[in-house]
Each structure stands twice: as C-alpha cells, then as structure tokens.
Chain length 197, copies 2
Amino acid sequence: MAATIEFYWDAVSPYTYLASTQIDAVAARHGARVQWKPVLLGGVFEASGNKPPISVPAKGKYMGRDLKQWAAHYGIPFAFPKNFPASSLAAQRVACALPEAQVGAWAQATMNAYWGRGDDISQPDTLKALAAGLGLDGDALLAQTQDPAIKERLKQNTAEAVERGAFGAPTFFIGKIMFWGNDRFALIEEHLARSAT
Amino acid sequence: MAATIEFYWDAVSPYTYLASTQIDAVAARHGARVQWKPVLLGGVFEASGNKPPISVPAKGKYMGRDLKQWAAHYGIPFAFPKNFPASSLAAQRVACALPEAQVGAWAQATMNAYWGRGDDISQPDTLKALAAGLGLDGDALLAQTQDPAIKERLKQNTAEAVERGAFGAPTFFIGKIMFWGNDRFALIEEHLARSAT
C-alpha cells in the first residue's frame, strides 16, 4: 500500500513554504501520497509552549539569510512579505472548506503568493484572486470561512497536530513517526525507502 | 586560498556531536580546513535569549527520536547519556588549553565519548582517559582548567560567537556567513563550492 505523508501546514510559515515546493517530488520518488492538513501555527505554539523563531532576535536575523539560501538551493522564488506575520486565518479556513483533493493546490497557491511573491494573504482580494486562478469560487469560499463547522475543523486539525506531538511547522507524519522541518527530507526519504522494502 | 570553516562547539550538544562526525568529510570535499572553537552553549543561550530545545516538552520528546534517526542516517553510534545535561565546563576548558592543531581531536573524542557511548564527561577520570587516548597529559590539562587565562579564553570564545550572531550549536562560519545546525551541510557545501569558482 502506498505510504501517506500527512503534512500539517500554515501559509504564514516560511519553512513550510520551502517544504511545500519539495514535497510532491519527495512523495513521487517513493510512490507516496500527500495529505495536506491546514492548521494555525499560532495555536500550535500556544498549546506546545514553543515560540516563533523571530522571538529570539539573533535567530530572526539568521532566518532571513537562511531562507534565502534554501530558496537558492531549491531554485525557487523568495520574497520576504512586507506584512509578516500576516493573519493566515482566512486562508487556512478556506483550506478547511475545500474537498481534500484540492487542499494541496490551495496550500501551494497561498504559499507561493505569500513567500514567493510577498503578496498579502490576509486580504480577501488576494485570496479571491488565488481561488480564481484555481478555478474556484472565491466569494463562496470566503463566505464559508464564517461557517462554525469550518472554524471548528481548523481548530480540530490544530489540536490534533499538538496532540500527536507537533510544536512547529512544517510537521510531517508517516504513520506515527513525526518529522519536523524543511530540513528533514533526507530522513523522510530514508524512512519511506525503508518502509517500502 | 583554502576556505576555513569555523566550528563553534560544546560537547554537551547532541546536534553538535552529529555535525562533528561529518565536518571532516565536508571540509575534505572542498579542500577547506576546520577551525574548532570551544564555547559554552549555556552562555550562548543566556546571552542570546534562546533556550535549549528540551525547554519545550514536545520538542524534547521529538529530539530523542530525531537524534537516533540522524545517527542511523550517518551510520554512527548514539547513546543518550544518563547524565544530561552534564557539565562540559572542564572539557571545554581543556580544549582552550590545547594547541589549535589538537582541538579537533579533543572535540571529537569528548563528543564520541558523551554521545557515542554515554560516558559522563563531567568526571575528571573520563577526561583523563580521553586525554591518555590522544597521548596527552590529562593531569596537566585538568590543572590548566583552573588557570584564569584558560577560563577567560572560553568566555571570550563564547562572547565572540554571540557577537557574531550565534544563538545555538553547532554554529559554523565561513567568512562572515553563519550556518546553524547539523542540518545545514547541503547549504554549507553549496556555499563552499560557489566560493571556490
């Protein structure tokens, strides 16, 4: 049976953007599928007691260059957004409103916009344009972000991630094994290769 | 001119142990030399406002498995020491007392002992045995750990690392460019390859 990589993501996280540009190729190399699970990183931090990297000034400064180096390594665009951290609440709720098969495309569209081009994903117009680009009805999706069931789904995903051990993003699960960070693909691939034999 | 990789290390750090097992091969692939700079990680944390990973319970739990996965990936021994965090003060001061050409061997000996075998490097007898294994006079070196000039050198190395932007370990510098973590070798190698052209 093909392995599933569960990918807990929040578009506000730059390291999640980096990982989102690689995950399809990683999965393809091992015949695995990716299950995209939207969360709110702020909720993960709050529940786990972890803090964002920028809360340590030296770490925040390092992160700025580190992200650019990773983007160059991957050969992908990178633009640190003027609005950071922007609220990703609506973007993450839209993800909860979509059928599962469309969540990955939405995740990548929002992160490519926010981290690849610096677009402000807290703005409804930005999200509507992204939806239109995917052939989706942005007005209907934004209306759904006020649906209590959708709000609850995002909270549940976040609580689920924390309960399973997450404290940051990106967080991946293959079965019960958790991997944290854009810098764990070597271990993820080794695990997938070993599991396949 | 051959590039120099400055490697700020403290034997108490498990990710520094992981990196210490790879750095010679990384340097050799690019004709670079490694300059080992002993610091006290506790001092780096204190000055930068960063905290050890185990201060977030979920991160500490993850770290236990993550370290084993890295060790398997590298094919190196790993034994989480019973005494953790042990004081590495004497081990780091010994490093400051050694001629520069011997610091790397001492760093690797102490980390192989602490993280490869779980030996308690806070104990003078452990350090004496490690010194003997390297053909060094352990009694003389331990006596030097009380020398005010040696104590000061360790403080200065630590302050220098923080001043340059360090907030954790392992921290590497190639010229002014800082790299943090055992998981940055791909970026380090890319930087070395680019600098060589």
